[in-house]
Amino acid sequence: MSPVTTQDAIVQVASDPDTIDRHFPAAARTAAREGLDGDVAREALLLAVPGPAAYVVDAVRRVYDHGDAAERRAVLLALPALDAPDRANAIGDGALPIVRDALRTNDTRLVAAALGPYAAAHLDADAWRQAVLKVLFTGIPVEQVAGLAERADDELARMVRDYAAEREAAGRVVTPDARTVLDLSLAHRAD
């Protein structure tokens, strides 16, 4: 396989979007050779896919479905940029299925990446609260959850209180992160 540069790959994807299937898996290795960040290179490839939102969403989902863990994480990290309001083909909530897929995994890197600004903007309340609870369960630093202060609500406060009670009953430590979420949820009610 002939090595291409990151810039070549972006240009090729812009003119022939199917080539993303070939460029995306190799993008981090190519970027590393050029001293660039692999996640940034992968985001640039996704942003280069032309066409209407539905077409971009198909490409995003295909690249995610066919990706290894690092590729899937890069797709999740790129979702806010793909949904930026100034893009004519912003993906809207079309990529929620992959956010839900990532939240079902036990890979904390994927769970954390799924809970960026895209999930904060689009994920329904039940799924979002479950995700925050999963963050507490799996020890992902809670500051990695985007929009926590804005979305924390009474129901999340109840869930975290129950979780804290369960930990205390078992003689286990209630983490500072759990208290942070509880405080934010209660602060929300005071607004």
């Binding site: 396989m1 299937d21 898996p25 290894d68 863990a69 036990n106 890197r109």
Partner: protein
């Protein structure tokens, strides 16, 4: 002591094994795709398995301080089931992945025409993707199978130095040594190879192109057999540098051909006089390696 286990099926092992392996010095592994005991009947089963080898398993390994890589391929047993042939169509997608460091396990099980085809096609894919190949040798009719394996390799686009022929024993090592391919040995509790016979083979054939693995899986096997070989080598008078060569630098050189190894920082051993290491109670860098004490 740093150990690279170049062939181990971690999917079949527990987190206890990861902890024990790390304590024994294992810092990197390669997990070849193989069959799972229960035959698969469609390509989707393979995709989910390959995805696990490139997703969940490296994540699990990383939690125990071990770098995990994979080899991807259609194994010879399942090559005989026409329903699994579609796996060949999805392989290019997987061979492009960062942590795929070879095509494999390939080779023969029962030496059928189907196995011939699938083996040759995959050696071609390896050449196309700039990857080496990991080749399994059959349990039954092993010497004939090994000879036929080397014939197929000779007719392929891969140079011998890009091929590791695995599960060798006293009867098959000679022909592989002559071929220029790398020689792999799976050290098992009962079958295949044991650590004492392994050291005899190293004495006879030297350390060049020699690869030692535990091939631990869902059968009777032991993920610490790489460590046992290192200890047996030291007890037999080999130096710490010799051990490092067989159990770290050799597999790094072979799989490094892919350009895709992602290894943690490790220290090469400090060279000492061989005599310092021999005998009961001897220590290496403060560790009583001969008794298998932990670092």
């Amino acid at each position: 002591m740093r150990i690279f286990d170049p062939h181990i099926h971690m999917t079949s092992r527990t987190t206890d094994d990861y902890q024990r392996m790390h304590a024994a010095g294992v810092r990197a592994v390669v997990e070849p795709s193989f069959w799972l005991g229960q035959p698969r009947t469609n390509v989707g089963s393979f995709c989910d398995y390959f995805d696990a080898l490139l997703g969940w398993e490296p994540f699990r390994a990383s939690q125990y301080g071990i770098a995990h890589h994979a080899t991807i391929g259609l194994n010879p047993k399942e090559a005989n089931d026409a329903r699994c042939r579609e796996v060949l169509d999805v392989l290019p997608r997987y061979l492009a992945k960062d942590r795929v460091v070879a095509v494999g396990e390939l080779g023969y099980d029962s030496m059928t025409p189907e196995e011939d085809d699938v083996f040759a096609v995959q050696l071609g894919l390896a050449a196309e993707h700039g990857l080496p190949a990991l080749v399994h040798t059959p349990h039954r009719d092993k010497l004939a199978g090994t000879r036929r394996t080397l014939d197929v390799v000779r007719e392929s686009a891969l140079e011998p130095g890009a091929v590791l022929v695995d599960h060798l024993n006293e009867m098959t090592v000679g022909v592989v040594a002559e071929s220029g391919c790398w020689m792999g040995f799976s050290v098992y509790p009962d079958t295949k190879m044991d650590e004492h016979r392994m050291v005899e083979i190293l004495r006879r054939y030297g350390l060049d192109r020699m690869i030692v693995n535990s091939a631990a899986d869902w059968g009777n096997s032991d993920p610490l057999k790489t460590r046992r070989v290192a200890e047996t080598m030291l007890a037999a008078g080999y130096t710490a540098d010799d051990v490092d060569r067989v159990l770290w630098r050799n597999p790094v050189e072979f799989y490094g051909r892919s350009g895709r190894l992602e290894l943690p920082e490790t220290d090469a051993p400090v060279e000492t006089e061989p005599g310092d290491l021999v005998g009961a109670g001897a220590t290496f860098l403060g560790n009583s390696v001969l008794r298998g004490a932990r670092e």
